[in-house]
């Protein structure tokens, strides 16, 4: 039971980053390989604010989200948009370039050493129905849950959320009703960067902060997104949680895998899903009408 809750906590982090990947894939049709590095950069910003500038945790958290939103939007306007006219492959390569660039930038500014990050939640455990559960895990799940609910409200009940969905599913049609599609995509990149930042900041206290913080997480997030269906936001969340719990249980109870072989298991999940059901659990296979 304890392992399930811990799995849900790490799973919610995967889910958050997976949701970022799904948002961008739905809108632009590409996997943003730089999503993880963007999140690492965000996490460093939060770390600098709390460690070097004496901010307390939550103001730094909120400020980082805002900065990430602006950063994500700027990346779309400045780097992605000029390349959108070309092939999808070109955009994918641009995101890989961005990955290398941000990774280099982070190493240049903050150096490569591993840093401890304070957690907003106490690390002690509380006992619920005879099960010891860490407050940090509950806090992590809570933050991601709140984010997902907020996003859902945005997409379901606001005019701009509806316009963003319209722009993602049918851009040509959306322009005809007056939606400024490019700006909606920019907003989407901003939101995705926010989701990534949340994942990074929640992961850093237990994984420690260094420039490769998100490298493995991005693989887990990608596995979660593929498992759930790369175009399905619900799938990203279910996929993330399933993967988190599954990996944790396998890591604990299957001796030969242990904690070290989790990453290969995630990669195996990607492979198996792509082989057996490429559209994922919640995805629909693409039907092109001619």
């Amino acid at each position: 039971m304890q392992q399930v809750v811990a799995g849900l906590a790490s799973g919610s982090i995967y889910a958050s980053l997976a949701l970022a990947l799904v948002l961008i894939h739905r809108a632009t049709g590409v996997i943003n390989f730089a999503q993880g590095e963007m999140a690492t950069l965000s996490t460093y910003i939060a770390w600098t604010l709390t460690t070097n500038h004496g901010w307390s945790y939550w103001p730094a958290f909120v400020f980082t989200l805002l900065a990430s939103f602006v950063g994500g939007a700027a990346v779309h306007q400045g780097v992605i948009r000029p390349n959108e006219k070309g092939s999808l492959l070109r955009v994918v390569i641009v995101t890989i370039g961005l990955l290398l660039f941000i990774n280099g930038l982070v190493t240049m500014i903050w150096g490569g050493e591993v840093r401890a990050v304070q957690s907003p939640f106490p690390t002690r455990t509380i006992e619920i129905a005879g099960v010891a559960i860490s407050i940090q895990d509950i806090g992590t799940i809570g933050v991601v849950l709140a984010t997902v609910v907020a996003l859902w409200l945005l997409f379901q009940y606001t005019k701009i959320g509806l316009a963003m969905r319209a722009a993602a599913v049918n851009p040509a049609e959306a322009r005809l009703v007056g939606v400024r599609v490019t700006w909606m995509l920019t907003l989407g990149w901003g939101l995705a960067a926010v989701l990534g930042a949340i994942a990074g900041m929640l992961a850093a206290p237990s994984l420690f902060l260094d420039p490769t913080l998100m490298a493995a997480l991005l693989i887990y997030a990608f596995a979660a997104a593929v498992l759930g269906g790369i175009d399905s936001p619900v799938g990203a969340i279910v996929g993330g949680l399933t993967l988190g719990v599954g990996l944790n249980l396998i890591g604990t109870y299957v001796d030969f895998i242990g904690a070290d072989l989790r990453l290969p298991v995630a990669l195996a999940v990607i492979l198996i899903v792509l082989l057996v059901k490429p559209s994922g659990i919640f995805g629909r296979s693409e039907v092109r009408r001619v």
């Binding site: 509806l162 049918n170 049609e173 005809l176 009703v177 007056g178």
Partner: protein, 235 residues
């Protein structure tokens, strides 16, 4: 009657292929104007050149002012374009499609507008939460029309509303268009292959042939025109 929309020497091309060779036409305020012609004559491109979804040269004047910009700007100017092949967001619900139709307007409360739409399409309210893609072809075409009306447009452009629909449904759609014109004074520019129903509905029509206006006149004149009758009405 002054012209709400006026095209003067409009040319448009898809890459190296020129689709329109200088089309001029006028849509008077409060009228229904039809554009007829065979496949590939440039009917759809004519509408696209107005809504800014194809690159064009020449003059397009709307309400006395030159019409510029992409489709977002054209939608804001008060032109609703229902494209060929059911312009709906199939993954979104009926009511979400309607909300998107009103996207360019400032009003937040769309209840009255949806009631108004229900007057023309009584089936819409009860199916408001159904995904548009699960509607029948005729219903999707009606939803596309309803969505365009949500924008309260000054000019409605319809591209082949009859495409692939049963004759009864086509008649129903054109009946609604005519009533909207008579009761609300809505100006309509409709592109149609079914010349008979188009001429019955419109007061004026243009026949396009390979990207040029071949014949123009009132619907009665065109119905009497020997070559139009033979080529497009089939008698």
């Amino acid at each position: 009657m002054s012209a709400l929309l006026e095209l003067e020497g409009v040319e448009a091309r898809y890459g190296p292929v020129r689709a329109l060779h200088g089309v001029s036409l006028e849509v008077p305020e409060g009228s229904i104007v039809a554009v007829l012609g065979a496949n590939g004559a440039g009917k759809t491109t004519t509408l696209r050149s107005v809504s800014g979804t194809v690159r064009r040269t020449g003059k397009v004047t709307f309400d006395g002012k030159p019409l510029r910009g992409g489709p977002e700007a054209v939608a804001r100017a008060g032109i609703a374009h229902v494209p060929e092949g059911r312009g709906t967001f199939t993954e979104l619900t009926v009511v979400e499609n309607l909300r998107l139709g009103a996207y360019v307007r400032r009003e937040r409360d769309l209840k009255d507008d949806i009631d108004r739409i229900a007057h023309w399409f009584p089936w819409i309210p009860e199916r408001r939460n159904q995904a548009a893609g699960t509607l029948s072809g005729g219903e999707q075409q009606m939803l596309a029309l309803a969505r365009a009306l949500m924008a309260k447009p000054r000019l409605l452009m319809l591209d082949e509303p009859s495409l692939g629909l049963a004759p009864m449904i086509v008649r129903e759609i054109f009946r609604i268009v005519r009533e909207l014109n008579e009761q609300d004074g809505l100006t309509v520019l409709v592109v149609e292959q079914d010349a008979r129903i188009a001429l019955d509905t419109a007061s004026r029509a243009y026949v396009l042939e390979v990207g040029r206006v071949a014949v123009a006149g009132s619907s009665e004149e065109l119905e009497r025109n020997e070559s139009v009758r033979r080529s497009y009405l089939g008698y």
